[in-house]
């Protein structure tokens, strides 16, 4: 058994359980993790609530990226408004204008732009970070070809290269938890 596992690991093969229902993959994932079998990842057509905790994934770091982009947007907005409105030195100047008799550095008037750029940077930055961190960019080859997982099927992928993998137990467990199909899939 262990010989085959090693071979498969070398061939970059992964054991995949396909499920037809989100409840089934949720139960199977919990059981797989409980049994100490190594999970590579889960692939589902839509976010399944509780699957991240079932997989034992740590808290996503994307929110920190969001906060960072938000802070960057805030600073960019503050800098651009201050520079164009209020900086005048012999060497480097913006273009201060009198608008409605307000001061050249009217913080109150900056608020909407500060807000908008903060939100814009945070939104776009988060989306791009998310795509990049999932390796979803032009030219990237997909890791697996798993038919139906963007449609109506749910895939639980086990990693034979990791400690604790045992094909017999994995197959037994997956089928007991309602896998409609259990196959080896070639990873890229």
């Amino acid at each position: 058994m262990s010989v085959q596992a090693t071979n498969n690991a070398n061939d970059n093969q992964y054991l995949v359980g396909i499920f037809d229902d989100e409840d089934l993959i949720l139960g199977a994932t919990k059981a797989t993790r409980g049994a100490g079998l190594p999970i590579y990842d889960c692939y589902t057509p839509y976010p399944v609530h509780g699957l991240d905790t079932a997989q034992g994934l740590p808290r996503s770091w994307i929110t920190y990226a969001t906060f960072g982009f938000a802070a960057l947007g805030f600073c960019t907005s503050m800098f651009m408004q201050t520079y164009t409105q209020a900086i005048e030195t012999p060497f480097w100047s913006g273009w201060p204008l009198i608008i409605g008799g307000k001061p050249f550095w009217p913080l109150t008037a900056f608020v909407p732009i500060l807000f908008e750029l903060t939100v814009l940077f945070a939104g776009i930055g988060t989306a791009l970070t998310l795509l990049a961190s999932n390796k979803l960019y032009p030219g990237n080859k997909p890791k697996f070809s798993l038919p139906g997982i963007t449609d109506d099927r749910f895939a639980l992928v086990l990693d034979p290269g990791q400690k604790g993998f045992d094909e017999g137990r994995a197959r037994d467990l997956l089928s007991r938890h309602g896998a409609s199909e259990i196959t080896w899939v070639q990873g890229q």
């Binding site: 409840d23 808290r59 929110t63 007991r176 938890h177």
Partner: protein, 430 residues
């Protein structure tokens, strides 16, 4: 190796197959008996409030009726808005068919049962306090004031009292219907109650939108009858909603921490925390929108409101208002774990409630003290005013609130046991 296997087998047995914890059932009504300590606390708060109010009246000296009535108005509206804000949350849950909140809904439902007291206190304020609060209630002033003569169609005692009765009475009636229907479902389990509640909620929301706007204009904005802001109604609504979310969160944490409602999960608190977070931010958005346009346009008839509140005596509180109502809740509730942590939710909710009180205080006190000084020809009336008269009415009505709401929660099951959304709510995950 064999050890690992045994361990694994055990885990599988526990966690696998039927995954039975996924199908939590509520076996019967979740009863709640008001703990003696809570009841004593409520009575104690009423007693302390009454004593403070008495001390305040006795020591305030002459020419301070305006201060008494201002505080009665502030405290009446504070609890009225918290109660009707809870009604708004219930209605929104029904209209949006929100599954997540079913297990928490009895709390805002119970909070709305305070509304008859709000009706009573506003009737007292409207019946006895108008002359000390509102410039427009003095016919001699109105006769000489062109603008007030034009506004007299709305700013008059009859209209004031009518909308107290119609608006707060209407909130009471509609929220009572919502609660009654929901409780009736506990016994017969009929789905038609859910449909009925959607219809009632829609009616309530339309009525609430109109009434809180007009009510705010007449009860609050008219303390400065020459000033106007088209943002005023939605500003009060934002305050009411976030305060109701904060008060509801406090009650839910109490129920969950003391084991009264074991079906409450961090996920439910998370959503209430989100509501508090979102509507604090919405309040700040409205606050800025009101301030920014008036500041930008710089029209004398509009800027008076902010000039008065930016005088040195009020400036510190004016800044504190934004800190309590937005800065603190925004930055403390921004990280996800904090919204799920009662130890953080409780202090933030208290800060938000304090902020809501300060918000009302800052709308009323600068204006009424200014009017009193002018009208009574007093030399010196500089705020801020803080003392027994400020705390007394808030404690008194707070005690009444704490007496009524738990008692009404104890009358029915803490969980709507036959609500069609209950299963979804029990399995709610964030």
């Amino acid at each position: 190796m064999s050890n690992t296997h045994e361990h694994a087998a055990e885990l599988e047995h526990h966690d696998g197959h039927g995954h039975d914890h996924e199908h939590a059932e509520v076996s019967g009504p979740v009863t709640f008996a008001v703990p003696g300590g809570l009841k004593k606390g409520a009575f104690g708060l009423i007693a302390v409030g009454a004593i403070l109010l008495g001390i305040g009246i006795a020591t305030a000296g002459e020419h301070s009726a305006w201060r008494l009535w201002s505080n009665l108005l502030i405290s009446s509206l504070f609890y009225a808005f918290v109660a009707v804000g809870a009604g708004f949350i219930v209605a929104i849950m029904h209209v949006t068919k929100a599954g997540w909140g079913a297990v928490t809904r009895r709390v805002p439902e119970a909070m709305t049962t305070y509304l008859p007291v709000a009706l009573l206190t506003m009737l007292v304020v409207g019946g006895l306090g108008l002359h000390d609060l509102y410039e427009w209630s003095h016919p001699d002033i109105v006769a000489e004031d062109h603008l007030l003569r034009h506004k007299a169609a709305i700013l008059n005692p009859t209209f004031y009292m009518s909308i107290v009765v119609i608006f707060i009475g209407g909130w009471w009636l509609l929220t009572t219907l919502l609660r009654k229907n929901s409780v009736a479902q506990d016994s017969d389990g009929d789905v038609k109650h859910t449909g009925k509640n959607v219809v009632t909620s829609v009616l309530f929301l339309i009525f609430f939108g109109l009434s809180i706007t007009i009510g705010s204009l007449v009860w609050l904005m008219s303390v400065e009858p020459h000033w106007f802001s088209t943002m005023f109604g939605v500003y009060q609504f934002a305050g009411a909603h976030k305060a109701a979310a904060a008060a509801g969160t406090l009650i839910l944490v109490y129920l969950s921490n003391n084991g009264h409602n074991k079906y409450l999960k961090p996920d439910h608190l998370h959503d209430w925390g989100k509501m508090m977070f979102a509507f604090s931010t919405f309040w700040a958005y409205i606050w800025v929108s009101q301030f920014l346009l008036i500041w930008y346009a710089n029209i004398p008839e509009e800027t008076g409101y902010f000039l008065l509140r930016q005088e040195p005596s009020w400036m510190a509180l004016f800044a504190l208002n934004v800190i309590l109502n937005w800065v603190i809740p925004f930055f403390t509730l921004l990280p996800r774990p904090n919204k799920r942590n009662p130890a953080i939710l409780v202090p933030v909710a208290i800060v938000v409630l304090l902020g809501f009180w300060l918000d009302l205080y800052l709308q009323v006190m600068p204006a009424t003290s200014h009017f009193a000084a002018e009208h009574l020809k007093l030399e010196h009336l500089h705020g801020p005013f803080m003392g027994a008269l400020e705390i007394g009415p808030m404690a008194l009505l707070g005690g009444v609130f704490l007496l009524i709401v738990p008692a009404m929660m104890a009358k029915v099951s803490l969980v709507p046991v036959k609500d069609p959304y209950l299963q979804e709510s029990l399995h709610h995950q964030q």
